[in-house]
Symmetry: C2
Subunit: 429 residues, 2 copies
Amino acid sequence: MKLNADLAQRITAAVDAQFDAQIEFTKALVRLPSLREREASAQDFMAEAFRERSLEIDRWKIDVEELKRHPGASPVASPYAEAFNVVGTYRADSNEGRSLILNGHIDVVPTGPEERWRTPPFQPSVREGRLYGRGAGDMKAGLAANLFAYDAVRAAGVRPKGRIHFQSVVEEECTGNGALACLLRGYTADAAIIPEPVDEHLLRANMGLLWFKASVAGDPAHASGAYSAGLNAIKRAWKIWQRLEALEAQWNADRGAHPHYADHPHPIRFNLGKIKGGEWVSSVPAECTIEVRAGLYPEWTIERGKAEIEAAIAEVAAEDAHLPAPAICYHGFHNGGYVLEPGSPAELALQAAHEAACGETLQALASTASTDARILGVFGKIPSLVYGPTCVGAHGIDEYVELESVRRITKTIALFIADWCGGDSSGAS
Amino acid sequence: MKLNADLAQRITAAVDAQFDAQIEFTKALVRLPSLREREASAQDFMAEAFRERSLEIDRWKIDVEELKRHPGASPVASPYAEAFNVVGTYRADSNEGRSLILNGHIDVVPTGPEERWRTPPFQPSVREGRLYGRGAGDMKAGLAANLFAYDAVRAAGVRPKGRIHFQSVVEEECTGNGALACLLRGYTADAAIIPEPVDEHLLRANMGLLWFKASVAGDPAHASGAYSAGLNAIKRAWKIWQRLEALEAQWNADRGAHPHYADHPHPIRFNLGKIKGGEWVSSVPAECTIEVRAGLYPEWTIERGKAEIEAAIAEVAAEDAHLPAPAICYHGFHNGGYVLEPGSPAELALQAAHEAACGETLQALASTASTDARILGVFGKIPSLVYGPTCVGAHGIDEYVELESVRRITKTIALFIADWCGGDSSGAS
């Protein structure tokens, strides 16, 4: 890191000075329940935060037709009426410095049964140094960290010399189409940071991801004839799920061939995320639909993953060939994986910033999840650094983010901004 | 049977003479999709048929509060806004003859995927002597047979000397509350016939029946953590279902203790009729609900069945005692079974009528299903004879009723009416 120690100290002190405000901002963001199809009010909040910082504001609805023409698009399976992206842009007086994207996603996943939360999921609560709430860690703390890191840089008297785009995107939790829409709108930079909650690590690789729905036919009959007549579609769907679990085990057994995951105990994760079957309790069910999330090794093509999944399903279906074959529909994530090639200038800069902020060497990890880094990195050719705080219970009950972790990664990002983009420092704070 | 051969011949000839009209009537009834919550138009059709025959008409909405006070009521889990019963009553000039209830249910179960039917389920179609359509056999052919049997008796010049109630009831497919509402309204008689599709047999016994819903909690987590974190509610629900299947096997193994079912290969049937779980494909599901139909031996109390079911579920739930215990809800059939004591005058009369109409001895059967006979028989103390035509595919795809079978059982019912109720015959047809 080329920053002098004094400037670095002023920047990290500025993070500390405004950290209470940062927590309040994050809490305000958690209060806005930006579930799928309800993102707009939280995006308005982000736009207002950009406006307060005199950033250029670009707020637009995702253009589904334009998306569909891009090979990186995932199928659009739910309405996009509320699917607005917001980008706030800082323009440097000169463009001498390197440009930067600070990206985060505004969408959160459903809460599960609210009565099982100790405090309601959209009423943020701070207890024992943790901020609780749906999306607190995944990833509203990250969206806030991006902005407050910048504030700290400015408070330390630095005017960055490179362009900075603050991106608040939708659709990270189901497709990646929000980040893709930013690319299609022309946003690019020399590096990107995405403060997903990765426990203060740097993401070296993430999985490809498929969502699919298999609609399985049964042979309906009167329940009093069950076992003599009919074939229960739910039981047939369960056999298919068991075959898919066997496929998952087989893929995991092959992990030695995948350098980033060779030592991982369980890199590939299939999740039976939804099921729905039957229409009358006293009828043997005619139909059952299962919805599955499947990880794919980053070296694989999506087509390979799909072919193996479809073959596994067909194998089970063939046992009851007199029934309609399962209909398979891809209705969300349809993405390859991502690998951050080591040694880029951006990575080196982040390592240095992390070390300065946290006093430790930055460790890399290969994730069993997926992130928008694949969109920016693979299709935008932007070195994309996923680096963020410690969060427990993402997608679960009582999700929380560790506030001291948020403070540390905010300092790292702030130091990174000042170093990467460069900047005139007046010395005034 | 006390009818003379000439009169019997005139009655069965009258059934033949009007059989085309009976088929048309049945088809018209099949065209009315009397699914749960949509029964009213079919009941209007029945009321009109009663009116054309100058029967007294009683059409009323089921009184849920009144029902709830009766021990034979099942829980009301769906709206009763369309839940009308219709009864048409024939009053004899004298009341010298025995009275009779001719009962049938108007409700039909869902169709399953309509595109899998050879002809649409609510567009009745006659092919190769079969009438196809949802409800054709279960049991609109029976409702029609009741009326056309009476028509044949009248056409043969007989005026029955006993009161006859034609009951078209709702809720047979989920609770039995429709038949119970008829009892509560005061309808009773010396015997009842219910022409459910029992393959020209007499029902000797039917099962008790429970519907229950188990709402199973999981421990939600990010799908990328599945297998390391979280516990999938769908998988936990499946374990509960497997435990229930073991309970079913155990009950079946005990069949030797139950005289009517000792020789039955599989008397107890549990049906996993519905399942619904998960809310986000990339989250380990927090909740899954299964809905099950369970048969009970007629000798058992409902409480015994419930206690064993609840214990089985609790046993599996205890493996994950840190999670909320499954919530169990009884949301439909909540009924003991029914046994028709052999040798009643009504049974003897039916045997004679069947033999006269079909040329064969009437065989009895013990059913794995449930019928409204338990309501009329157990709570109304009315000897209730379930006797009806051959139907294939009840609750399935391409349900049909055999038309020659319908013709035969219509003749039997007509002969029964004339014999049971007695009547003056002018000899004119």
